[in-house]
């Protein structure tokens, strides 16, 4: 059955809209406002809506007295609901108006907050995982150490038992050298266990390896304190040294290091034959480049007239080498 739409029925439906709607004339005076918008503005400003300027001001910084809190584009009302406002220019009957709309986004806002919290938890979890993974290797080393110590102590026990047997029941002459040798081994192991811990770093280890093959590293400048930067720089030196010995017939590399701000820069040359043509990066150099670039550093190779490798390596704020070494042992 057809029912005629009257002005009041249109007004009533407009008032009953769940969203807030209002219109302002070109001079900013209120033309039309529905009940939802009226209620929201009253909560927001504590007074009746008069001009677009009042509403803009209240939306820009909600008065503290109203108890409405702004979170980005969302407005958190004291009744627990969350609203978003939008402003658009509209025309009707040849006139221009400014339309303000308010939408209830409570469910959406809560879902977004929950998602944000979950994402934060996941980020924290990922960071925790990274720490746990890093610690796992240190824990494994400690367990390995314990296992080796137990083995040495078992051998001590076994030697003590053999000696006890010797004193109680005697020992055939042919078994004496074996008993003596067992005690020599046990004592040597114990001395090794009780000896000083070896303190070295990647560079010193590389220098020793270089000496062992009759090669050497001549260093100018100070090595970076950051262990991660030192590791990468040492890897670069190792690559250059092996290439020098293997391909250029050289024996020494020359490393000039300087620290600039949070970066360590190094230029590496050698005493070998200069390359005959441009160097193509093989497995070693390209994997070195990947390591350096993934850490945020840079690597440049000059082939002619003489080979040089320049690296720029970020020095991360990780702990000094000594502390790291102490913890890992």
């Amino acid at each position: 059955m057809f029912r005629r739409l009257t002005r009041s029925s249109i007004r009533e439906s407009f008032d009953n809209l769940p969203s807030g709607v209002c219109f302002f004339s070109r001079n900013g005076m209120l033309t039309l406002c529905n009940r939802a918008m009226y209620r929201l503005v009253l909560l927001l400003t504590g007074q009746d809506l008069q001009t677009a300027g009042d509403l803009d001001g209240a939306l820009e910084s909600p008065p503290a007295s109203g108890g409405v809190r702004r979170d980005g584009d969302s407005y958190l009302f004291p009744d627990g609901t969350v609203w978003r406002f939008s402003r658009n220019g509209v025309t009707g009957g040849g006139r221009s108006y400014t339309e303000y709309l308010a939408f209830d986004v409570t469910a959406l806002y809560r879902a977004a907050r929950t998602l944000e919290e979950k994402n934060r938890d996941l980020r924290e979890m990922a960071a925790r995982m990274e720490r746990i993974t890093a610690n796992a290797v240190a824990i494994m080393r400690e367990e390995e150490l314990l296992s080796m110590k137990m083995r040495i102590h078992n051998e001590v026990g076994s030697s003590v038992l053999a000696a006890r047997q010797f004193f109680l029941s005697g020992c055939p002459d042919e078994q004496k050298p074996e008993l003596l040798s067992r005690w020599r081994r046990t004592v040597a192991q114990l001395l090794g266990e009780l000896g000083d811990e070896d303190e070295t770093d990647a560079f010193r280890e590389l220098s020793h390896a270089a000496e062992a093959i009759g090669a050497g590293i001549e260093l100018t400048g100070e090595l970076p304190k950051s262990p991660s930067a030192l590791r990468l720089l040492t890897a670069a030196m190792r690559e250059c040294l092996t290439n020098t010995v293997r391909h250029a017939g050289g024996r020494r590399i020359f490393v000039r290091v300087c620290v600039r701000g949070t970066f360590a820069e190094a230029a590496i040359t050698n005493d070998g034959r200069p390359p005959e043509r441009e160097i193509t990066e093989g497995g070693g150099l390209s994997s070195l480049r990947a390591r350096i670039e993934s850490s945020g550093g840079q690597m440049r190779i000059q082939s002619l007239p003489v080979f040089s490798l320049c690296v720029t390596i970020p020095m991360k704020g990780d702990e000094p080498i000594d502390e790291r070494a102490d913890r890992g042992r």
């Binding site: 996941l122 979890m125 990922a126 925790r128 995982m129 990274e130 746990i132 993974t133 796992a136 290797v137 824990i139 494994m140 080393r141 367990e143 390995e144 150490l145 296992s147 080796m148 110590k149 083995r151 040495i152 081994r185 040597a188 192991q189 090794g192 266990e193 000896g195 811990e197 070896d198 070295t200 990647a202 280890e205 590389l206 020793h208 390896a209 270089a210 062992a212 093959i213 009759g214 262990p227 590791r231 040492t234 890897a235 190792r238 040294l241 092996t242 010995v245 293997r246």
Partner: protein, 208 residues
């Protein structure tokens, strides 16, 4: 005489292995002892190295498996025994792929290492049948399927379900099913718990 290079970042392990070699001085000679696997290839350039006892997790986080692969590419005659105490499920497979002749878990006794060394130098390849079983919550590591182990590795790397699906080239639902099975088998309630368990037991050490 076989010249042996020991690569291990733990002094006590290096000492112990040195003593084993000294105890078999009729056939083995200690050619060198280093902490960092990355330097092993360099020592092979000049030294007469016949056999390397190569730890997996060495100084400065250098991987003994990567070093073994590099050495075998350039010096195929050098024989390598990978030694580790970590029950990481991919170490055996990676050591084989690297070309290492043999593999030895450090928990075994003295005689076994010398035996593995002798057999390796006699041309045999000595590998354990399987990775040692570790208890993973309610189940043993040997009860997990290869796909579930792969999901576990991705979790430890901090990947989300979508990223795991992409990395394993399977769909999202399949990944969720693997994850569900992992939780059911282990009794873990969250992926974080799974990751902690996998790392603590050293079943998964992704950086090596």
């Amino acid at each position: 005489m076989t010249n042996v290079l020991i690569v291990d970042d733990e002094k006590i392990v290096r000492e112990l292995f040195s003593h084993y070699i000294a105890a078999a001085s009729d056939r083995y000679r200690l050619a060198g002892v280093i902490r960092d696997a990355a330097n092993a290839e360099m020592l092979c350039m000049n030294e007469q190295i016949d056999l390397i006892l190569m730890d997996v997790c060495t100084a400065d986080c250098e991987s003994g498996l990567d070093a073994a692969a590099a050495i075998k590419r350039r010096y195929p005659a050098v024989r390598i025994i990978v030694v580790t105490s970590a029950p990481e499920y991919r170490f055996l497979e990676k050591a084989r792929a690297a070309g290492a002749e043999s593999f030895w878990y450090k928990e075994a006794g003295t005689a076994e290492l010398l035996e593995v060394m002798d057999r390796t130098m006699a041309g045999q390849s000595v590998y354990p049948d399987r990775t040692p079983r570790v208890q993973l919550g309610l189940c043993g590591s040997d009860e997990l399927t290869p796909k579930e182990l792969e999901v576990l590795r991705c979790i430890v790397r901090g990947l989300g379900i979508g990223e795991i699906a992409e990395a394993m080239n399977v769909d999202y639902t399949t990944t969720k099913t693997h994850l569900k099975h992992l939780k059911e088998k282990t009794g873990c309630r969250s992926t974080a718990e799974l990751a902690v368990l996998a790392t603590r037991t050293k079943l998964v050490l992704p950086e090596y």
